[in-house]
């Protein structure tokens, strides 16, 4: 196991932390779950990027890239069984109640696309996915249906943004590559230059939502802090939605400066939900995960740039210091 002891990371606070053991446990759990996933492999292929597997077991269909779980979906009800963090991809509605165009970078098993198509039928979702094989798997095994309201582009996400002239009300990021020791963020999708590109493709009240695998104080807190700090260098406001059931933090960057108070959010959430534009049953409950304050280590983390983005070092080793 390559994880170093706690408290030695590039941008961790100098005080002793207690997150290391918990993080290690999470990592071990992740590997055990990933490797030892019980069930029948219903499909397997190797693309230029991953070994892709679809496994059915205990009523749940799971998509795996190499050893990591990307998507879960209940076989009985495809609208159930997904990872919790997917539901935070609906939080942009709080800042952009007129949302009608969404761009999603990273398809996976299409959980977000499926939920948006069902619960927000008024929204057109464009998806950019780099791996053509993933599209095939999503269509065949996860019910992803491309069409005029669900367009799919097989291209690198950053390339797409750079060449696109469209504007989106929300841009959702869930792009990961897999390494032997877990998921890694593609370095060209976390830099200040990248977020500047994202900002330029948003409408005036647009929101970016970024799924970061990690936690606020323990496992991979460095990468969460660094992404937060980097987003803050581009967006006026950055908020957090830490998932309760998994090691994910969804970071939201907004262009409008609405006061992030609890009454405001509850009020706005109720309005949006009652308007019928968002029918996600858990929408109102998910608002409670909101955090306005930055991760405790954010000020110690580097702003990631195209010129300097040691994300592999932040995620794995900490020989520095």
């Amino acid at each position: 196991m390559m994880r170093p002891a706690a408290g030695t990371s590039l941008c961790s606070p100098p005080l002793p932390r207690h997150g290391g053991r918990q993080g290690l446990a999470a990592l071990v759990l992740g590997l055990v779950v990933g490797v030892g996933l019980r069930g029948d492999t219903v499909f397997e292929t190797t693309s230029a990027y991953h070994r892709i597997r679809v496994v059915d077991g205990a009523g749940v269909r799971t998509l795996l890239f190499d050893r990591a779980e990307e998507t879960r979906m209940s076989l009985a009800n495809p609208l159930e069984g997904h990872f919790e963090y997917i539901e935070y991809f609906f939080m942009p509605w709080l800042w952009n109640p007129e949302l009608n165009r969404v761009l999603m970078i990273g398809l996976g098993g299409g959980s977000a696309q499926r939920l948006y198509a069902h619960y927000c039928p008024g929204v057109a979702v464009d998806t950019v996915e780099v791996d053509a094989a993933v599209r095939q798997v999503a269509e065949t095994y996860f019910g992803y249906k491309p069409g005029p309201r669900q367009r799919i582009f097989i291209e690198d996400g950053r390339q797409f943004l750079r060449r696109s002239q469209d504007r989106y009300g929300a841009i959702l990021l869930d792009a990961y590559t897999q390494g032997r020791y877990g998921a890694a963020i593609p370095h060209h999708l976390v830099t200040r230059e990248f977020f500047t590109l994202v900002r330029d493709r948003l409408t005036t009240n647009g929101v970016v939502a970024y799924n970061v695998m990690g936690s606020l104080t323990g496992w991979r807190a460095d990468i969460v802090g660094a992404v937060h700090r980097t987003m803050q260098s581009v967006f006026p406001q950055v908020y957090l939605f830490p998932a309760g059931e998994s090691q994910n933090v969804v970071l939201l960057g907004t262009l409008v400066a609405d006061p992030p108070t609890l009454p405001w959010r509850s009020q706005r959430g109720r309005e949006v939900f009652e308007s019928g534009r968002v029918k996600l049953p858990t929408f109102y409950r998910r608002i409670n995960a909101f955090r306005a304050e930055p991760p405790p280590n954010a000020s110690l983390c580097p702003v990631l740039t195209d010129d300097y983005a040691p994300v592999d070092g932040l995620l794995s080793d900490t020989w520095r210091r």
């Binding site: 230029a48 990027y49 780099v130 582009f153 097989i154 291209e155 690198d156 996400g157 950053r158 390339q159 750079r162 060449r163 696109s164 002239q165 469209d166 590559t177 593609p186 370095h187 060209h188 999708l189 830099t191 230059e193 740039t305 195209d306 010129d307 300097y308 040691p310 592999d312 070092g313 520095r320």
Partner: protein
């Protein structure tokens, strides 16, 4: 004097080539995205540079027979690498943005664009660096009967330099240095290499090879 110095020169050359290859792939990803094709392009282009550099370097060694003249090629190569942070972004931008916006880039160009970008930046410097091994084999050769051993040693030292370059670049440099600083450092190292070639020139002037077989 001779083989040990030659080993040092080709080690440095091999080292710089692989640092440029690894760091270059990272650099190109900023422009062309993190696609598989970026790595494929970068490896392919550097191999082309090596093949061409070996070929041309060997021919020039027979013709010139002076280390100093190699410096005349290393200096522009070094300056080219030094200048990457300034000239590369607009060139790569032009390659990417020549496709009409709003429609997907054809798959053929998704594959070939990174190779094009890589070739513009890395082909010539790596080609010049690849001239070092055949060139130094020619300059160090004294006896035909030992050419096999000598060329094996020179190529091995060059490859050892490359191995060091891969690991140092991937494990260390990318985490402690900015990409632009790495290019500046490698450009500087190539200029040092050129300086060494000038300085050592006298030691290797006009060698002639004994064709009499060893006892």
């Amino acid at each position: 004097m001779g083989n040990a110095t030659a080993a040092l020169l080709v080690f440095m050359g091999g080292f710089i080539v692989m640092v440029l290859e690894i760091v270059g792939a990272r650099y190109l990803a900023g422009e062309f995205g993190g696609t598989f094709y970026v790595w494929v392009s970068q490896i392919g282009v550097v191999m082309i540079a090596l093949a061409a550099g070996y070929y041309v370097g060997g021919a020039l060694a027979d013709r010139w027979q002076r280390l100093q003249r190699l410096a005349g090629l290393l200096v522009p190569a070094g300056l080219g690498v030094l200048a990457v942070p300034w000239y590369a972004p607009p060139v790569l931008e032009a390659i990417v943005m020549r496709h009409p916006s709003g429609e997907p880039v054809p798959l053929l160009w998704q594959k070939l664009d990174p190779a094009l970008g890589s070739a513009v930046i890395f082909l010539l410097p790596c080609l010049v660096l690849a001239m070092l091994p055949p060139y130094l084999i020619r300059l160090c050769a004294r006896r035909l009967g030992q050419i096999g051993r000598l060329s094996g040693q020179i190529i091995a030292w060059s490859t050892l330099g490359s191995i060091a370059g891969v690991f140092v670049a991937g494990y260390v440099l990318i985490e402690v240095m900015k990409l632009s600083s790495i290019f500046l450092t490698m450009g500087g190292l190539i200029l040092v290499l050129a300086g060494l070639c000038c300085w050592l020139d006298r030691g290797w002037a006009s060698p002639s090879i004994e064709t009499t077989p060893d006892k």
